[in-house]
Structure formats: structure tokens, C-alpha cells
Amino acid sequence: MREISFAQALDEAVAEEMRRDDRVIMLGTDFTGDPLKEFGPARVRYTPISESVLTGMALGAGACGFRPIVNWRMVTFSFVAMDQIVNQASKIRYMFGGQADFPVTYRCTTGGGSGSAAQHSQSPYSMWMHLAGLKIILPATPADAKGLLKSAIRDNNPVVSFECSRLNAVVGAVPEGDHVVPLGVARVARAGTDVTVVGLAYYLQEALKTADEMARDGISVEVIDPRTLVPLDVETIRASVRKTGRLVVVDEAPPTCSAASEIAALIAEDAATFGALRAPIQRVCAVAVPVPYSPPLENAALPDRARIAAAIRRVLDAAPVPA
């Protein structure tokens, strides 16, 4: 199978969907590649730096028959459009009783690890999960980047596409043709028997590398990629934990009210899964600080393979949870 980068996979997804459906339009201050050349200025709209109006315009145009893709660029900039995201996009369908659909895709990059400091290193997945009303994709591989983004563009709801910056250069196999990955289906990225590790975005890749390293010590790690956070395929994670009895969740957001917290809660409150737990659940998250700039500080703030491995060893060494 051909191999392309995560960034190329995202570009392919958009271009293919633009070709497939002429109601798909793009709004943003900048685009990768040269979509203007193929699709023209009516559909590829270079905008002023006006995040609120872009976010809201997509809803208005979406309700009137178009399928806008808004590129916020960094998730940082989406915060300027909080009203349109929180009060409008996430609520507009339900509060109007389902009268209209709002098929809008909001794209943005996320994550740290690039020396971009506090504002431009954020991973606020759980803020949007909390809203109820937005679907959320979080691809970790080039194949899923393409397949999930295509599903997002075809979905008839507002979907937020969180695209981890550190994955942009990652190269991987992507099927030829119309490769679509459904929303709400997790992937067992590596099968194992001793411990379940759920890795989000870049940390899926890091969890897989950690699992390779630990396999040399005879430790069998099952690695799961949720792929979409809303809807979340919790059953695949529960089934894995019922098999392994141990769970580590790796997420580069700070731990408080995070996606990792939500996954931990969904595991702990399910009686059958809770009963199968043999160790306390562990979260490996960022330190709860704005991501600092200087490399030693940034490295200390974000999860790494050593911390993932240490968490795996903790759950393996833990005394069994009493019945």
C-alpha cells in the first residue's frame, strides 16, 4: 500500500470531498496546498482574521444547503469564537427541535512538543466534549486522518477535527481510493493481554512504541485508539479492559476534566468492567500548567514514553483490587 504523511492525508480528504460534492466550501485565512487553483475563489474563501464570524457563517451557510469546512488553523484561535462554538454550533440543532441540519466541519491543529509555548500548544478536547452537540474526531494515523476527515465532511452535524501538529510528518499506509472511516468506531491498534493502554493522537504513536519496548520484557500491551471522542466507542475499550484487567490512558491535555478522565470514569462506572479491574486506573497526562517554552520545561510538562512505561509497570505491580 502507498504511504503518505498525515498532513498529505488530510489534504487528500478535503480535495476528494470538494470534488465529490460541490456544496463543500472552505473558509479560512490560509490553506495548505493550492485548493484555489482547482476549486476557485467561490468555494475556497480566504477570509479576514475573524474567527467568530467564520464559525457562525458556517452555521448559516450550512443551514442553507452548503457543507462548509472552517479552518481555525490552531485550536488556540477557536477560543476567539467561543460564543459561536458554545452557544450556537453545539446547541443550534437541538434547541430548534431538529428543524435544520448544520453540516459543518471545524478543523484545527492541537498539541505541544514544538516549542510553541502556552497559547499554541493546547489540546482542549474535553472542553468541546463537555458541550454535548459537537462530534469530535482525533486521528492518530495518516489512514485515519483521511478516513475520519472525509466522514466528518459528509456528516450532517457540526464536527470538530482535532489534528495533532506533531503527527503532520508521520508517514503511514493509506488505502487508495475513497477511504472512509466511520465516526464512533475505536481501533485496537495492537493486541495484547496484560494491560490496556488508550492513547490519544500523538500519544497513540508513543504508546505503540512503548508497547514494542515492553514486549522485550515479556509484557503484552493492548493499545487502543478511540479515533473519535464524540461519539466515543467505549465498548471497545471496556471489552479490552475486561480482558486485561488494567487500564492506562495517555493524553497530552492536563488531567483535570480531561478526555482521559472521561474514559476512566466510563470504565469505572460499568459494573462488569469495574469487576474485572485488577489495578487502579492510571492517567498519564500533561502537568496542569500552561505549556512552557523552554525545552526542559516543555518536556517535563508533556507525557513521554518513560512516564507511559512507568504507569504500565505501576498497574502490573499493583496489588489486585479487592473484590
Binding site: R45, V53, M57, C64, Q88, F96, A100, A132, G133
Partner: protein
């Protein structure tokens, strides 16, 4: 294009209906029959009616927290509006929205909105869609003077003018942003002054004169339909009642002489006397119209009261589209 007699009579009927609908809403809220907050449109009826008289069903509008008048003017069904206020399944939002979230997409009413200024970007998006569709339909965005202090106002005016969108911004300057006078909130209290900064035509009009509103709106709508881009129309008006009420109407804080002066400029009385002077309306016509409005409102309340409450087991319905 000057409205003919039947159009003028319909404008008057809608203005009376809007006023009586909101007076009734205040009573129903005080009696505890409906819930949440009510923001009456009384006093501002000429604006929604004067503007919407120039619109077709395929034209789109966005509204505000004070949105009942825009709904009625755009052609929404008062029975389903009332059922929404009563929180019933036959309401426009199946009881999920209430007063501040009434919408009727089937007549191009894209929603009232609880956030000041939030409708401007949505209207701009509707205008973009209409432009891309290449027909001559337009979008109209209603908002208050308060929205002018919000960033969304400035972002929406800029991008709409930049892209020559078929859009009319209609500012209902009712002299108060929530409970604070415009002069305490804006250095420039003539909202229309902002038009020049965004390179669009701006026009100020007496918002209590429905025919003047209609004429100015019509010019702006014609420009939008003709590819000349957006306009800013400022309608100077006044709300007769409070900004918002919940259990009971709040105490009045505005000067009594100011209220009295604006009530002398009642937009409905003005149209009535104009139509009578032109021999287009008799006293018995007017009485019949009032009786019909009251009958329609009684029927709307009966429709609402007969409609069941939503079943809690349906709480997840409408969350996501298929």
C-alpha cells in the same frame, strides 16, 4: 414600489398581532402558564413588519432575544409559537427552545437567539449561501443597539461588505442596551455611522413609521438583490416595556416623560391614522381586525394548551442529524 391597500392592511394586522401576542405573553408569564424569560417587542412592531413586507419566504432572517415580532412578521404560525412558549410538543422546537429560541426554517426564520450579536455571523453565512446559489434571495439580520458593542457586529459587517453579500443589517435602536441607555454604552450613538467604516450604504430611519421603514428597507433589499452588497439600516425606536421579565415585570427605571413621549409616537396609531386619512381604513374595519386578532390568539392558546408536554423519554431526540 408602494404597498397597495391590501398590503397596507396586512401590515397593520401583523403589527397589531405582534403587539397583542406579546401583551398576552406578559400576562401568561405573570400567571405562571409559560416559563423562562419574556422580552416584549411592543413599540417596535413597525420594524419587523416594515422590513419583512419586502421579503419572500425564500429570503432568510435571523432574530434576537426579542424575537416574537420577527417570527410573526416573517410568517410563522402563532399557534406553534404559543405552543413553544407553553413548552409543548407542537411548539416550533418541540418544547426545547422556548421564547428565546423560536425558529421556523420553513419560512426562512433562522432563529431567535439568546446571545446579543450572535445572529449577525449566522445571517452572513445565510447570505453567503444565497450568493453562491446565484438567485436573487437575500438575508436580513435584525439586532439591537447593544449588539453594536459586540465584536461579532464588526466582524460580520466587514466580511459581508468585503464579499458583497446580499444582506441587510437592520439595527433596532430602542435606546437601551438591556437596562442601560445607549449614550452610556457607545461614544457614537448613531449606529448608522458605522456603515461608512465598512464601506457600505447606511441609512437611518424613524423606526416607528412602518412606511418609512419599508421604503428604506426596500432600497437596501434591492441593492442586496442587485449585487451591490450589504447595507446598514438603523431604525430609531423604543420598547414600551421592560428589557426582560421572569415571574413578574420588573420595576420601570426609565424616565416617565421619555416613555410618554415615545408612546405618543405609537407606530400602530400612526399607521391607523394614516390609513384612515387616506380612506383606506374605517373604524369598523379596525374593530373587526382587533376582534380577529383576539380570536386568533385565543385559538393559539387553546392549541398550545391542548398540545401535550414532551415525553422525557424523548430527551435525546434531535441531538444529532442522521
Amino acid at each position: 414600489m408602494t404597498p397597495n391597500r391590501s398590503e397596507l392592511i396586512e401590515m397593520l394586522r401583523k403589527m397589531i398581532l405582534i403587539r397583542e401576542f406579546d401583551e398576552l405573553a406578559i400576562r401568561l408569564r405573570t400567571e405562571g402558564k409559560i416559563y423562562g424569560a419574556i422580552h416584549p417587542y411592543v413599540g417596535q412592531e413597525a420594524i419587523a413588519v416594515g422590513v419583512c413586507a419586502g421579503l419572500a419566504s425564500a429570503d432568510r432572517i435571523t432574530s434576537t432575544h426579542r424575537g416574537h415580532g420577527h417570527c410573526i412578521a416573517k410568517g410563522a404560525d402563532i399557534r406553534r409559537m404559543m405552543a413553544e412558549l407553553f413548552g409543548r410538543v407542537d411548539g416550533y422546537c418541540r418544547g426545547k427552545g422556548g421564547s428565546m429560541h423560536i425558529a421556523d426554517f420553513s419560512v426562512g426564520m433562522l432563529g431567535a437567539n439568546g446571545i446579543v450579536g450572535a445572529g449577525l455571523p449566522i445571517a452572513a453565512g445565510a447570505a453567503l449561501a444565497l450568493q453562491l446559489d446565484g438567485k436573487s434571495n437575500v438575508a436580513v439580520c435584525f439586532f439591537g443597539d447593544g449588539a453594536v458593542a459586540e465584536g461579532e457586529f464588526h466582524e460580520a459587517l466587514n466580511i459581508s461588505s468585503l464579499w458583497t453579500l446580499p444582506l441587510v443589517f437592520v439595527c433596532e435602536n430602542n435606546q437601551y442596551g438591556a437596562n442601560n441607555p445607549v449614550a452610556a454604552q457607545h461614544r457614537v450613538t448613531d449606529v448608522v455611522a458605522h456603515a461608512g467604516g465598512y464601506g457600505m450604504v447606511g441609512q437611518s430611519v424613524d423606526g416607528n413609521d412602518v412606511l418609512a421603514v419599508h421604503r428604506v428597507a426596500r432600497e437596501a433589499l434591492d441593492r442586496a438583490r442587485g449585487g451591490e452588497g450589504p447595507s446598514l439600516v438603523e431604525c430609531k425606536t423604543y420598547r414600551w416595556h421592560f428589557h426582560a421579565m421572569r415571574q413578574t415585570p420588573p420595576p420601570e427605571t426609565r424616565p416617565a416623560d421619555e416613555i410618554a413621549e415615545w408612546k405618543r409616537r405609537d407606530p400602530i396609531a400612526r399607521l391607523v391614522s394614516d390609513l384612515k386619512a387616506r380612506g383606506l381604513l374605517s373604524e369598523s374595519d379596525l374593530e373587526r381586525m382587533h376582534r380577529q386578532v383576539q380570536t386568533d390568539l385565543r385559538e393559539a392558546v387553546a392549541f398550545a394548551e391542548a398540545s401535550p408536554f414532551p415525553d422525557p423519554k424523548d430527551i435525546l431526540a434531535d441531538m444529532f442529524a442522521a
